[in-house]
């Protein structure tokens, strides 16, 4: 992977005012491409991340459908790779977390979540795109809301009503004086902590990782443009660090997709479980 390829898109992170200012700012993640209009002060635009996520959906749909259209008993190459990912989500995530009784009906959602997040995360280091969609919080929130609604829905349906659902959340054998605190904590966990952390973990990792890469790459660029030769020379270790961090980001991106899917599966699993 060449650094030169990394620079243009990351350079846009610091595109505030004239010339690249060194510390990249969160404003750099706001990248509108086409302005459609305004509602009051609220701009209606197509942003870069919207394009990227639609591209990822198109790519994933094409790949998944074309490799599994004629799913054979003896898989071809494409089907083999698809099955590798599908097996991972199906057996290592869904089956382990939900249990072999109910897991199959959650597999499509978990698999969609996993491949969508994984591809969008990896777009953060794939040269022509190089923008992690999930660093715009709207997308993680959307995915989390889907998970949130689904696990509460199946929980309430399984416990026959909201009050039973809350009752089911409380572990048995709690002394009476602790009950209000436990109920409060459980409600907090189920309704606030879980979705908040699920969305923010993904967002935070992608946001911070991209920022980190920008720091090293744009920082190196700033150093190259410095006047003294010594400073120009320091750009090399900065870019070397950027290279290492890019590899590290690849790992984090996979891990975050995995963690998101795993946590979603564990929430589904606890919702269909007989006991809390």
């Amino acid at each position: 992977m060449s650094f030169a390829a990394l620079i243009p898109s990351l350079g846009s992170l610091s595109a505030e005012g004239d010339g690249g200012h060194f510390p990249p700012t969160p404003e750099g993640f706001w990248q509108p491409l086409v302005t459609l209009g305004h509602i009051g002060d609220y701009p209606i635009v197509i942003t870069r991340s919207m394009v990227v996520i639609m591209l990822s959906v198109a790519l994933l749909s094409w790949w998944l459908v074309s490799t599994t259209k004629r799913a054979a008993v003896v898989p071809g190459k494409g089907q083999h790779y698809t099955e590798l990912v599908y097996n991972f989500v199906r057996n290592d995530v869904a089956k382990d977390m939900i249990g072999s009784k109910d897991f199959l009906r959650f597999v499509p959602l978990l698999f969609s979540l996993f491949v969508l997040i994984l591809l969008n995360n990896l777009f953060g280091i794939i040269p022509p795109i190089q923008f992690p969609t999930m660093s715009r919080i709207g997308f993680p929130i959307a995915l989390t809301l889907v998970v949130y609604v689904v696990y509460h829905w199946i929980g309430i349906k399984k416990q026959h009503g909201f009050l039973n659902y809350v009752k089911w959340m409380i572990p048995p054998g709690i002394p009476g004086w602790l009950l209000p605190l436990i109920v409060f904590l459980e409600l907090l966990t189920f309704f606030i902590t879980r979705p908040l952390t699920l969305a923010l973990r993904l967002f935070g990792n992608m946001f911070a990782g991209h920022m980190l890469l920008a720091v090293f790459i744009i920082g190196g660029w700033e150093l190259v443009q410095a006047d003294t030769f010594a400073l120009k020379f320091v750009a090399l270790p900065a870019w070397l660090m950027a290279f290492v961090m890019t590899l590290f980001e690849g790992l984090v991106q996979f891990l975050q997709a995995f963690v998101f899917t795993l946590l979603a599966a564990s929430y589904f699993g606890s919702a269909v479980a007989d006991e809390h």
């Binding site: 898989p75 599908y86 709207g138």
Partner: protein
């Protein structure tokens, strides 16, 4: 870099979103997020997972069916082997029997041949003896005739009278021979020394 100028222009025009805290969602992006996961979920649910699960089921079935088929084939092979072994044993027994038969048959043939040969040889010997006997007889008869004629010739020459009368000649010769056999006439030297 066109895009960069676009960003700058928007930022410069006091875009409320650029300076908004990054943890507040931009609503169109939120909606795009729902749409994206919705489309992908629909595709995966209707087109991808059923096919894959069908392939998995077919694979499991193929493996189980394969095992059953292998077991059946093994049983068949075992049956065939047993059958073959039995046949082999039969064939071996049959071969032994044939060999024994052949041996017996050969012995019989040899015996028959021997008997036939003996019979033949006996027959040949007998016929040869018969022939010898016949030839001897013939020789005796012809000798007898010749001796008679010679002696009569001799006698007639000596006697001087023709004794060639058939009946007389015969009677004399027969009588002479009979006397000779009876031992009444000693062979005498006709002339000169005869050893």
């Amino acid at each position: 870099m066109l895009q960069l100028t676009g960003v700058r222009a928007l930022a410069a025009s006091g875009d409320s979103q650029a300076s908004a805290p990054p943890i507040l969602p931009y609503l169109p992006e939120l909606i795009f997020g729902f749409v994206a996961i919705g489309i992908l979920y629909w595709v995966v649910k209707t087109k991808v997972v059923p096919n894959l699960e069908k392939a998995y089921a077919a694979r499991a079935e193929a493996i189980e069916g394969g095992i059953a088929k292998a077991e059946k084939a093994q049983a068949e092979a075992k049956a065939a082997l047993d059958h073959y072994n039995a046949q082999l044993a039969d064939a071996r027994g049959e071969a032994n029997k044939i060999r024994e038969d052949a041996r017996a048959h050969a012995a019989q043939i040899v015996a028959e041949m021997r008997a036939q040969a003996q019979a033949e040889s006996a027959r040949i010997v007998e016929s040869a003896q018969k022939q010898i006997e016949a030839e001897r007889q013939q020789a005796v008869v012809s000798l007898r005739g010749e001796v008679g004629r010679l002696s009569t010739d001799l006698a007639s020459r000596i006697v001087g009278e023709s004794l060639h009368d058939e009946t007389r000649q015969k009677g004399i010769v027969e009588r002479f021979l009979a006397d000779l056999e009876a031992g009444e006439i000693r062979p005498v030297k006709v002339g000169g020394t005869d050893s």
